[in-house]
């Protein structure tokens, strides 16, 4: 069985050190803590740290608190904060950077998001395009040992899609197809290791 894309990368399974935040700090260093991001965020109601608070933590290098928080995984990339930020900071991009760090360090707290995106990318790696049934079966396989009832939340939707002929039966272990992006993924990984 092929491994998850993110699992092919060197990972430490421990929280990123303060150096890991350097690139993100550079992007947001002119933050004036005005809170426009917090006021603009549609997901703020579900966050443990507000976006403004998170950016302060990033600037202070508080990695432990940042990676104890779910705030960055609650960014749905609506880009409202990036649009409204009076300093024009790329805040949505900085949220992506934090997600990438969590994935790279395989932090267990973010298992659902990391597994979801990891299996998605792994399916694309092997077939060039997404195969929805294959990717979702693999995601469920990762999640069910700790959360056996989790797939039930999706049965209603799955049945609807099946009745409409929108779900295709796919072998989750099918060999890579002719549109495989294996070479591209390997090259990206080697360039990132070099960096």
């Amino acid at each position: 069985m092929t491994t998850v894309a993110t699992q092919n990368r060197p990972g430490t399974e421990s929280a990123p050190g303060p150096d890991a935040l350097k690139a993100i700090q550079d992007k947001i260093k002119s933050c004036i803590q005005c809170g426009t991001c917090t006021a603009s965020c549609p997901n703020e109601f579900a966050m443990d740290l507000t976006p403004r608070h998170l950016w302060r933590m990033v600037l202070m290098g508080e990695t432990e608190d940042i990676f104890a928080s779910q705030t960055f995984t609650l960014c749905s990339a609506c880009y409202t904060c990036s649009l409204r930020c009076p300093r024009g900071l790329p805040l949505t991009e900085a949220m992506h950077d934090l997600k990438q760090l969590a994935a790279k360090h395989k932090l267990p707290r973010y298992k659902a998001s990391t597994a979801f995106y990891g299996h998605f990318m792994d399916t694309v790696r092997r077939h060039g395009r997404i195969r929805e049934t294959e990717f979702i079966s693999r995601y469920f396989m990762t999640m069910t040992p700790s959360n056996p009832l989790m797939p039930l939340k999706y049965t209603g939707m799955g049945l609807k899609l099946m009745r409409k002929g929108k779900l295709h039966i796919e072998n989750p272990f099918a060999a890579p197809g002719k549109q495989s992006l294996e070479a591209i993924f390997q090259k990206v990984e080697s360039m990132e290791e070099r960096a």
Binding site: A5, T6, P42, N43, F45, A46, T73, L74, S76, A77, C78, Y79, T80, S82, L83, T92, H96, D97, K99, Q100, A103, A112, S113, F116, Y117, G118, F120, M121, V124, G128, R129, I130, E132, Y139, K153, G156, M157, K160, L161, K164, G165, K166, L167, H168, Q179, L181, A183, I184, F185, Q186, K187, V188, M191, E192
Partner: protein, 292 residues
């Protein structure tokens, strides 16, 4: 008019009817679409959560293939997530030579090279900007003047690149809806987030966001969308939301080209209207009723 066409993965699976209705509407308007050869996944919302370089390289493959087709045509993208991913690469390499060099180092693995000449356009941008509103009006054969439609834009066709509309108070769908004879539902939820992939990883959060949108659309006969993720989030979980919140009625969710195609009198099967997950019986009855 001619465009290169990037359908993206969703339009081959869960959003087949968006692909079918886009092609049918464009054919009815005498606009020619040429699919990009052997296109691959743009990275969706997954690549950017895993690797910055991968999130640039995956869309770049498709831009490089499009450039090699040497048509000089703009690339039309109906999916907002694909649109943003492709556009982001086009915008990045225009100003960042180092990024272009890194991308091309990756693309060499597939013997491709990106020059950076591609123009990436969202379907709604092309419908609102390139096509004369009269072209829509002249083609209308079915009077939809007894319907009220809520225009839903979502996020990524509007933000961060404010290209063809106001990124917070968009209006570009309104003339298109009015061209069908239908009325525009007045609301302020058109550019609010549907939760995107939270529906898979943080379902309770996404349900809350979708609830707000469906609540705002009460009184409209349907919501028109221009993105497969928005469409799926708004239509597929309505029974859960109606049961949980107990303060709203189900709402019909259509892709914008399906609505336009209905007004053009195109057959339902060409518009994939049998594939939608939420078309309420009220809407079916009202649609075929003769306007008073």
């Amino acid at each position: 008019m001619k465009y290169l066409y990037y359908p993206g993965c969703s339009l081959q699976g869960t959003a087949k009817e968006y692909d079918q209705s886009t092609r049918a509407m464009m054919a009815a308007l005498d606009i020619e679409l040429t699919e990009i050869e052997d296109w691959t996944c743009c990275g969706a919302s997954a690549a950017e959560s895993v690797s910055e370089l991968l999130a640039l390289a995956l869309p770049a493959i498709n831009l490089a293939i499009a450039e090699a087709m040497d048509t000089g045509q703009d690339i039309l993208v109906p999916c907002s997530a694909c649109y943003l991913n492709l556009r982001k690469v086009a915008e990045t390499v225009r100003v960042d030579e180092a990024a272009l060099a890194r991308i091309n180092e990756v693309l060499a693995e597939k013997e491709l090279e990106l020059k950076g000449a591609s123009r990436v356009r969202h379907l709604l941008d092309i419908m609102a900007t390139d096509i004369d509103p009269d072209a829509f009006r002249q083609r209308v054969q079915v009077d939809l003047s007894h319907l009220t439609i809520a225009p839903y834009y979502g996020c990524q066709c509007l933000r961060p690149y404010a290209v063809f509309d106001d990124p917070e108070e968009p209006r570009s769908m309104e003339p298109l809806i009015k061209a069908t004879g239908a009325a525009v539902h007045p609301w302020s939820m058109g550019s609010k987030c549907c939760g995107a992939s939270h529906m898979n990883t943080k379902m309770e959060v996404a349900l809350e966001l979708v609830h707000g949108i469906l609540k705002g659309a009460q009184g409209a006969d349907a919501i028109a969308t221009v993105c497969p993720m928005c469409q799926m989030n708004l239509e597929a979980y309505q029974d859960k939301i109606v049961q949980h919140y107990r303060d709203l009625q189900p709402v019909t969710i259509l892709y914008l080209p399906q609505l336009i195609g209905m007004a053009f009198g195109l057959p339902d099967d060409q518009l994939g209207l049998n594939l939608n997950l939420e078309i309420c019986s009220d809407f079916r009855n009202k649609r075929t009723a003769v306007p008073a």
